[in-house]
């Protein structure tokens, strides 16, 4: 199997970006890394985020060294971090989007 890779932008980030579709197993990290590997606990789509450590409910999600949102529930290290478990601090609407397709679920189509 091809070596799985993810990219950590800032050393204080608690998430990294998947550079390819990830499956459960070892993922090597590049960028400003704090550790060489993280273990993926589930499938994570390319371009999406993987938790680099356990993140508690209401804790901030950090990428680029800045806050990009808040955890809606406890997030386990190595799992997928997206709309299902984190939310924007500003944009209330985006937590009503489908986690996989991104389509809005708050507008009725009859």
């Amino acid at each position: 199997m091809e070596r799985q890779k993810a990219f950590q932008i800032d050393c204080i980030d608690n998430v990294a970006t998947a550079l390819m579709p990830l499956k459960s197993g070892k993922v090597s990290l590049s960028g400003n890394v704090t550790m060489p590997f993280v273990n993926a606990e589930e499938n994570i789509p390319m371009g999406h985020k993987i938790a680099l450590r356990d993140i508690g409910k209401e804790e901030t999600i950090i990428k680029y060294g800045i806050v990009i949102g808040r955890a809606k529930r406890n997030i386990t290290k190595g799992t997928w971090v997206h709309l299902h478990c984190m939310k924007s601090i500003y944009d209330e609407r985006s937590s009503h989007m489908d986690a996989v397709t991104g389509v809005p679920e708050d507008i009725r189509y009859e």
Partner: protein, 403 residues
């Protein structure tokens, strides 16, 4: 090649600015004269002859200011303005402004010239004469200190924040250090970054300008309950507007921000500037903030950018009138797929093949080639898009009165 050591031959204009191209700009003042203007440009068949214009019959201060900014742009050496004859915008006045800038200029009303064919034929003759006159333009030495480069992103994906915008940020840092000027925009894509940007303001005035520009954009987003993030962005892995914003702001690099520019306003001095393209509050409401990528590029060029960067993740094919556009992607797959359109691939950074400093150096090499006359891919293909909408915007940032 070090940006500080680079120098080129450029075209010196009366207002002191220096152009990297020497173009004839054909301007239509209303949709009714656009066909004739576009035909003159098409039939001339010269890459240095380009068209821009405004579609509305009723004029708009913002749009007129933008047309004037393009007339005064350093890449423009001659101007031909075409009107129909009954619209609000006055071709004669625009041609006179070009004349005052010592640029070759002329204007026509289609109604007076006797219709489509006569105006096109006369227009082609005028443009050919202008091209001949432009060949006599004296050239002057030009360094990074004379450069203004603008950047925006369109069709972002997860690579934009990791590679595409990062390489622009890295290049911007070296451009600023070499004494040049850089402009970045999209304040509605800086959500949550108010303190981050404010801290980067070079002085109290700059910090205040950033603050009120940010607050205005947030008021807009809150009032329409819509942020500049789309289903495609979420599907691609971005989870919030804050995350998308930091990816977008990465293109500004790390140097201090000198202040906020409005559309068509030239930077008062060299350094890094934030461009505000959001409409100002007015009786007509806010208008549309960010209608398409070409509006953003047109706005950056109106501030005097001799060259612009368009950073794309998913891919884009557009170019720009007046100033050449270098298209950059951080996505190697997109680059391979659109290699005829995209000028630069920053993807090797993500593939671990080189560092962001190295890739910024390659971008500097490409910038040098384009300033020296090499055509960008969009220039070769004839992509010369522009977009000038109705909008209400103040001429400069107005700070609230203090007691």
């Amino acid at each position: 090649m070090n940006l500080k050591e680079m120098h080129w031959r450029g075209y010196l204009r009366k207002n002191g600015s220096k152009g990297i191209r020497n173009k004839v700009l054909v301007i239509y003042t209303v949709e009714c004269s656009s066909f004739v203007a576009k035909e003159i440009v098409r039939r001339t068949g010269n890459n240095d002859v380009e068209v821009i214009g405004f579609q509305g019959c009723t004029d708009n201060q913002y749009a007129v200011r933008l047309l004037i900014a393009m007339i005064r742009h350093p890449n423009v050496g001659a101007v031909l303005v075409i009107g129909l004859g009954c619209e609000y915008i006055q071709p004669k006045w625009l041609a006179e402004i070009a004349g005052k800038e010592d640029k070759f200029s002329n204007w026509m009303f289609i109604q007076k010239e006797g219709g489509t064919t006569k105006t096109i034929n006369k227009g082609i003759k005028l443009v050919m004469e202008m091209l001949k006159q432009l060949q006599q333009m004296p050239q002057t030495d030009m360094t990074a200190e004379d450069l203004i480069i603008g950047a925006e992103c369109g069709g972002s994906d997860y690579t934009s924040g990791l590679a595409g915008n990062t390489v622009v940020g890295c290049f911007y840092d070296s451009l600023i250090d070499a004494g040049g000027t850089a402009i970045f925009e999209e304040i509605v894509e800086a959500v949550g970054l108010d303190k981050f940007l404010e801290t980067r303001g070079v002085n109290k005035q700059a910090k205040e300008e950033i603050r009120i520009t940010y607050d205005k954009a947030m008021k807009y987003c809150r009032s329409v309950r819509q942020y500049s993030v789309s289903p495609g962005n979420f599907a691609g892995g971005l989870s919030s507007i804050e995350e998308k914003s930091m990816g977008a702001v990465a293109k500004s690099g790390t140097r201090p921000i000198q202040g906020v520019l409005k559309v068509s306003e030239r930077p008062k001095h060299n350094g890094l500037w934030l461009l505000d393209t959001t409409p100002d509050p007015y009786w007509m409401q806010f208008g549309i903030t960010n209608p398409n990528d070409n509006e953003g590029l047109t706005d950056l060029i109106s501030c005097g950018s001799q060259m612009v960067f368009l950073v794309t993740g998913r891919g884009s094919v557009v170019g720009s009138a007046v100033a050449p556009c270098i298209k950059i992607t951080g996505n190697s797959t997109t680059y391979k797929n659109l290699e005829d359109d995209i000028d630069f691939n920053a993807g090797p950074v993500l593939d671990g093949e080189c560092t962001s400093t190295e890739i910024a150096q390659y971008l500097a090499d490409l910038v040098e080639d384009v300033i020296s006359g090499k055509l960008t891919k969009s220039e070769v293909l004839g992509h010369k898009e522009y977009y000038i909408p109705y909008k209400y915007q103040n001429k400069e940032v107005i700070l609230p009165c203090r007691q």
